[in-house]
């Protein structure tokens, strides 16, 4: 027997996502474009950020950066679905997958733009500030991706409980990303 869930009352704690501001922005890229950007952006950024350290480092960077962002998304997306389900939200798994993919596309676009400055810093900066700067950029970009996923997932969600759980999910996603960054950094010898 199908059960009908009563629609949640409008949230009073979290203001609804401004649809008007979103509607005035450029349209989101298609799923295919977002997937291409999600792969290409981190790969180009990873390779560019190792330009000053030889071909092997470039290849490693080009492989590890997509692994970081795609892996982070793959690890965090199920938790987001769990959070929305437990909170009684109406967001489907497909919607979460689509928001995650479009957020990865956004992150890929950002990283593609940052490739030239990354190459510039890679060639000219060889102090302890260099890995710190790289990690700062990765953390900021990852945080942008997490928040973008959250906003796009919750665009049509009005339930307070779901929003509270998703706020908790942000912390979990960031910790997961940090753990992955640490592991991949050890693999690449970034910390040595």
């Amino acid at each position: 027997m199908a059960t009908h869930t009563a629609p949640s009352p409008p949230s009073t704690f979290f203001p609804p996502v401004e649809a008007s501001a979103d509607a005035r922005a450029l349209p989101l890229p298609s799923a295919r474009d977002a997937a291409a950007l999600a792969l290409l952006g981190p790969a180009v950024f990873g390779a560019a950020s190792a330009v000053g350290h030889g071909a092997r480092a470039m290849a490693l960077g080009g492989a590890l950066a997509p692994a970081l962002f795609l892996g982070g998304a793959a690890l965090a997306a199920p938790t987001l679905y769990l959070a929305t389900s437990l909170g009684g939200g109406q967001v489907s798994a497909e919607h979460i997958a689509r928001s995650t993919l479009s957020s990865l596309g956004t992150v890929g676009t950002l990283l593609l733009g940052f490739a030239i400055p990354a190459a510039f810093f890679s060639v000219t900066l060889h102090t302890a500030s260099a890995p710190a700067l790289l990690v700062a950029v990765l953390v900021l970009t990852g945080t942008t991706g997490v928040l973008t996923t959250l906003v796009r997932t919750l665009a049509k969600e009005r339930s307070d409980s779901v929003r509270f759980l998703c706020a908790g999910w942000v912390a979990v996603a960031l910790l997961l990303g940090g753990r992955l960054l640490s592991t991949l950094g050890h693999t690449a010898g970034l910390w040595s």
């Binding site: 349209p27 956004t106 990283l111 593609l112 030239i116």
Partner: protein, 330 residues
């Protein structure tokens, strides 16, 4: 018949105008000397007819300017841009709206870009010259060359990041408009630096080496704030999340600009230094150097430096000043 917005019923009737039009023939000057009145009226009529035909022939050969054309900004010469960038940044942004921000490529785009590059080069050279005069001689020429280079290299390296930020935040701005906006911000940066150059030159006589570095960094920070505000305002005008893109762009510009200036150092050199290199080898970074200069300006010296390099703390050894000079060119 359905009435439209421009049908006679909706058009306002200007009673004064219509009265004037109907009354015009009656207002022929009436002279007490009646015999002259008629030839004068005919002469008036002939003149009016010839003027009307001249106007109509001009209208045939050249169409009347549209409202858009009448409101069009002046040609983007460097002097016009100086005024707009400093006094009327909104006017400059309106100009960009016409040439690039709204994706309509204007015919003045190359001229605008050339003028902006000219402003950046000249103003950067002026500031560089003022900074170089702390040591004087060849360093003045070196600095006058390197400051415009710093600005242009920063722009070239940052532009792709700006575009990435704009696209990621879904800001509706063309690549051309974005580059022009960034160039405009660079030009404003240079203009503020050029304005502060005489102040810096004035203070050079009373400031030591480390305080001179701090003053130069402060001048750059002030100029950076004004340039950042233009960049931010320009991006915030575009549809989408331009404010977010603006914050990111300002951060990237500051980071890349700071590092580019570090790469092209020395700018401030002690007056007693004999040989000044055009560029120094890559070592350390800007953040560490500014921190060290701040400590030194406050007369706090690193003990590790004193132990390992006693001449840096002024040990009084022969030639110690020279060695210290060559090591401390920032």
């Amino acid at each position: 018949m359905a009435q439209t917005w421009n049908s006679p019923a909706f058009l306002p009737v200007d009673s004064d105008l219509s009265d004037e039009a109907t009354a015009a023939p009656d207002r022929t000057p009436v002279s007490p000397r009646e015999p002259l009145a008629k030839p004068l009226a005919e002469a008036h009529e002939r003149t009016a007819t010839s003027e009307a035909s001249a106007i109509s022939s001009r209208e045939v050969t050249k169409p009347a300017p549209s409202v858009e054309e009448l409101r069009a900004p002046r040609r983007p010469t460097p002097l016009v841009l100086v005024e707009e960038l400093l006094r009327e940044p909104a006017q400059f942004l309106n100009r960009l709206d016409r040439t690039g921000l709204d994706k309509r490529a204007g015919s003045t785009t190359p001229e605008l870009a050339r003028s902006l590059v000219a402003v950046v080069t000249v103003t950067g050279a002026l500031f560089g010259g003022a900074v170089g005069m702390f040591r004087g001689g060849i360093q003045t020429a070196y600095c006058a060359t390197k400051v415009p280079l710093v600005l242009l290299v920063t722009l070239a390296v940052s532009a792709p990041a700006f575009l990435g930020l704009a696209r990621a935040t879904r800001t509706d701005i063309s690549a051309r408009g974005l580059v022009l906006l960034a160039l405009g911000a660079c030009a404003r940066f240079g203009l503020v630096l050029a304005g502060l150059a005489p102040v810096l030159w004035l203070l050079e006589t009373s400031m030591g080496y480390h305080r001179m570095i701090i003053a130069t960094v402060l001048a750059c920070a002030i100029a950076g704030a004004t340039a950042g505000s233009l960049l931010f305002r320009g991006l915030a005008r575009a549809r989408g999340n331009g404010g977010l893109a603006g914050i990111g762009a300002v951060l990237v510009f500051a980071l890349v600009g700071g590092h580019a200036s570090w790469m092209l150092r020395p700018f401030v050199v002690r007056p007693r230094t004999e040989h000044v290199p055009f560029l120094r080898p890559v070592e350390s970074d800007l953040a560490a150097s500014v921190a060290q200069s701040t400590r030194s300006a406050a007369e706090i010296y690193d003990t590790a430096v004193q132990r390992s390099e006693p001449w840096r703390a002024g040990s009084g050894q022969p030639g110690s000043e020279d060695r210290r000079d060559t090591q401390e060119q920032e």
